[in-house]
Amino acid sequence: MTQSKQHHFSTVISAFAMAVIFSLITGTAWAKSEYNKVICRVETDRTVLPAGDSQTTILKITLDAPAAPIHIKRPAVNLSLVLDQSGSMNGTKIEKAKAAAIEALTRLGLQDIFSVVVYDTNVHTIVPAQNGGNIQHTINTIQQIRAGGSTALFGGVSQGAAEIRKNLESDFVHRIILLSDGLANVGPRMPDDLGRLGAALIKENISVTTIGVGTDYNEDLMAQLAQKSDGNVYFVESGIDLPRIFAAELGDVLNVVAKKVTITITLPDNVKPLNIIGREGRIRGNKVELYMNQLYGNQEKYALIEVTVPESKPGSRIKIARADVVYDNPFTHSREKSTGVSYASFSSDPKKVARSTNIDVVREYQLNLNAMAQEKAIKLSDKGKKKEAVQALKQSAARLKQIGTLYQDKEMLQEADAIETRADTIESQGMSKKSRKILRTKSYQMKNQQLSQ
């Protein structure tokens, strides 16, 4: 490249850069006015449906959470760390958990509130709910945690909730982070029971995030508790990963941009809801209602609903669904609304139909089905049907592969490979505790679109 050419080139670049900067400034100005809006989109797996008989189609209601604004104080957090200090935690696990807890607390600000509850056979609140001021004293208290005793998990969560409740009325993001490495052996221990506790806690807008360490805890219980309370689920094999997980979780908690999110999907009279995929919700007549306790910044959350569309003529176009999202904006402290609508047209041309495929919806649908296949596999292997479990996983992998190849979708192909490998491992070594935990955690994270993993 010659000197003159280079010079000419650089002027072009600088001009271009100027344009970009200008557009960025105007762009941010535009973005600033709109920063706090959650965008709601409603899509179908194909925008053009085959004309003719009544048919089933997939609806995807997507919530695009905006990034948290930089210049406005983030919403205050009311955090309760509930740590397992039973005998099995002894060693690296408890040390790393302590380090991770301390690391997490140092990231909280003065406006935040935190408490630390430890449990073994009994439950102790070692740091009652307090502001993020006197950190040093708290750190010393946490350092003194020693492992020993049984696992009163239910009591621990209950005590954590009691600490949260001290500031329940105020406008906080309420969160319990539960860490456990063993089977709950004092207090209720059925996954269903903990699920009910989670269901009660979310009514108070308290979410419980569960972190399972090692391979001896009850992943079903931990997943149920988190699922019913809309928290995150993590599985770490050793204590070494704990600081990373705590950091990721805290990243989520400190990044909440919407709270108490209710989604109401209204279908026209001739469109019938069939099934909600992967999430818990309620079908009431022609309405589908869903609830999420919070949205994190830059997160995309969605719900998948199977609906039947009535018989139709080619060329016709109908409204399929309307979604209304109502949520608390923690920055403006106001209740906000967002709406999305979806239409579908009908055609007798199969090519046109095929071309209209929304790969995004198809992918998420398939991945959710895959998550459900994983849960089915767990159920089967629990009943001792290892063969059928492997079969279910392999079938799911094959379908993912087929559809992935059809649409040339990397994510689906990757997941297909991962599931196939796992199926092979289970086939040769049986359903190990670790495999079961991975399946349970991954399927939950998929269904819940968990950001940090």
Partner: protein
């Protein structure tokens, strides 16, 4: 021997008299102590049981209040907005798990099929018997609670809670205000509907006079799949809808256990168990598993059928009260040890006194015997000479020399006894003078040669060349030497020779007297210098003696800053070594 047996018997009697009462006292004390400990343990159990009862009462009153409040709230719902109101309850109230409306023998809500959630489907399955009409809603109720006079009723209940607080305040570790606050929070959840809804519904009742207001309500503890569920129902009008809620037991439990007092004592635990014996909540650090046996079981409340509180306590739990037992046992132990050691001391004193007495008796008889023998000879020969019947000059000479010899022996014996007394009192006086031990030894040998030779013993001397003049007490030295010589002749009479060795050391002259007799058995070697000690201490022993000779000799040598030691000779016989200290020649 007879005397020994007697004394042993008296010791046994003494010990029996002494030990038996001691042991009896100890046993009685132990029994009393363990009784007392038992009593203390029982009171620990009782105290813990009291706490368990207090917990059970708290749970009962809380649940009762919640149920009453919810029942009241159910009845207060505006009947025109029944479903909406109940749905809002379900969505927002953590105590409400499910809701239902049952009208005309049919379930109006939840609806079967797609429109119900999986939870609602399970709920309908659970209560199928009830919803399908097989079981009546009021099958378990005593006359339904009448809430028309409810306000008074409630007041009473609140009062009850108040008194309960003051009763249990001493057991509470959780600050009272906090407890009260969190419980108020819980109870406020159960007061859902305000009274204001009452008016329009009453008005509605008036509009339709055929529908009588009955205000019935109740709670059903329901067992399904071996688990307890609580269903509250209400019916305002006869033939009107029966509606109600299912209580979220886990939420209730979660809030209840936070308020229960913590137990900090070691080795104790209060455990709330559900109908299946599962541990629902534990307070206290004792590791109580399902196999452990509780000391007491208290049923919680008829509102939670089959739920119990188990009281556990183990040895560590009693440990706090065991201090009493340990201290008393320690005191008792010290008492017994003191008594026994006193007894041992007394026994030892008695034994040594008895030994002394025995030795003295044997000493007196030995000495009398010793005195008698030479005296008899002297008297016999003197009487023979006095009768003048012996005319042979040689015989007279022999008799006279025997008399002299025997009186010499008598003198030595008496000297020994006298010296023994002096030595015991420490009043023996020594007169130091210069003597030549060589000459002194030769003189003694010469004086006693006839006595020695008459026993067919050869005299050997081994004297190193040198000057043996030293300063010491000549008479004392002579007494020591003669004692040893007498012993040698007495006990080694069958021997062939007597060896006298003389040599010099710095400040000392060593005089060694050795025989080739039978020697001294090893076990006696250590004790031959004790006073009164004799190898054969019986009067019938072959050789008479007082048991004083060696003891006196050793003490004299020690007084003179020298020493007397025994050394076995090879292959047989004994040597006595006299170390004579030179007190400085003039």
């Amino acid at each position: 021997m007879v005397q020994g047996m007697k004394s042993r018997r008296s010791i046994i009697v003494f010990w029996a008299l002494f030990l038996v009462p001691t042991l009896i006292i100890a046993l009685i004390a132990l029994q009393l102590l363990s009784h007392e400990q038992e009593r203390i343990n029982q009171s620990a159990i009782n105290a813990l049981s009291q706490r368990a009862k207090a917990v059970a009462q708290t749970i009962h009153i809380t649940i009762e209040t919640i149920q009453d409040n919810l029942q009241q709230s159910l009845l207060d719902i505006d009947q025109n907005r029944l479903e909406t109101t109940l749905l809002i309850w379900e969505e927002t109230n953590p105590l409400v798990r499910n809701i239902f409306i049952h009208r005309n023998q049919k379930l109006e809500y939840p609806v079967k099929g797609m429109e119900s959630t999986s939870e609602e489907r399970r709920f309908m399955e659970r209560y199928d018997a009830l919803f399908s009409g097989r079981v009546k809603f009021d099958f378990n109720s005593a006359p339904a609670k009448d809430f028309s006079v409810g306000s008074e009723n409630k007041l009473q209940q609140l009062k009850k809670i108040g008194t309960f607080y003051t009763e249990t305040a001493k057991y509470e570790l959780v600050p009272k205000e906090r407890r009260a606050a969190s419980r108020k929070q819980l109870l406020s959840l159960s007061r859902v509907e305000k009274k204001k809804a009452d008016r329009p519904s009453q008005a509605m009742g008036l509009n339709k006079p055929e529908q009588k207001l009955i205000n019935r309500s109740g709670w059903i503890p329901w067992f399904s799949e071996n688990r307890l569920h609580l269903l509250g129902w209400a019916q305002r009008q006869e033939k009107g809808a029966v509606y109600g809620i299912e209580l979220e037991l886990m939420s209730l439990l979660s809030r209840l256990i936070v308020d229960l007092p913590q137990i900090s004592e070691q080795g104790t635990a209060l455990v709330i168990m559900d109908g299946n014996g599962n541990f629902v909540h534990q307070s206290g650090r004792m590791i109580a598993d399902k196999g452990a046996k509780p000391v007491k079981i208290i049923s919680i409340s008829d509102l939670l059928p089959h739920w119990r509180i188990a009281v556990f306590i183990d040895d560590r739990g009693f440990g706090a009260t065991k201090g009493f037992l340990y201290v008393s046992m320690l005191l008792l132990g010290i008492f017994i040890v003191a008594i026994i050691s006193g007894g041992v001391l007394l026994t030892r004193l008695t034994l040594s006194n008895m030994k002394d007495a025995r030795q003295k008796t044997s000493f007196v008889s030995s000495v009398s015997h010793e005195l008698k023998t030479p005296l008899t000879s002297i008297r016999m020969y003197a009487e023979l000479l006095l009768s003048k019947r012996v005319t042979n000059e040689d015989k007279i000479q022999t008799y006279l020399s025997t008399i002299v010899n025997e009186s010499g022996r008598l003198t030595r014996l008496i000297n020994n006894v006298l010296d023994f007394g002096k030595l015991e009192q420490g009043s023996k006086k020594y007169q130091l003078e210069n003597i030549d031990v060589d000459r002194f030894l030769k003189q003694i040998i010469q004086t006693h040669s006839i006595r020695i030779k008459s026993q067919n013993i050869e005299i050997k001397t081994l004297i190193e060349k040198g000057d043996y003049t030293i300063k010491t007490d000549k008479d004392a030295l002579e007494q020591v030497t003669l004692n040893l010589l007498d012993n040698a002749l007495k006990y080694a009479g069958q021997g062939k020779f007597l060896l006298f060795v003389l040599k010099k050391e710095i400040d000392f002259v060593i005089l060694k007297i050795c025989d080739d007799g039978p020697g001294i058995p090893k076990k006696h070697q250590d004790r031959i210098f004790e006073k009164f000690y004799r190898i054969d201490n019986s009067l019938t022993s072959q050789q008479p003696g007082s048991g004083l000779g060696l003891s006196i000799a050793k003490q004299i040598m020690n007084d003179l800053k020298g020493d007397l030691v025994f050394e076995p000779a090879t292959p047989n016989g004994s040597c006595f070594i006299i170390r004579i200290k030179n007190h400085g020649t003039d």
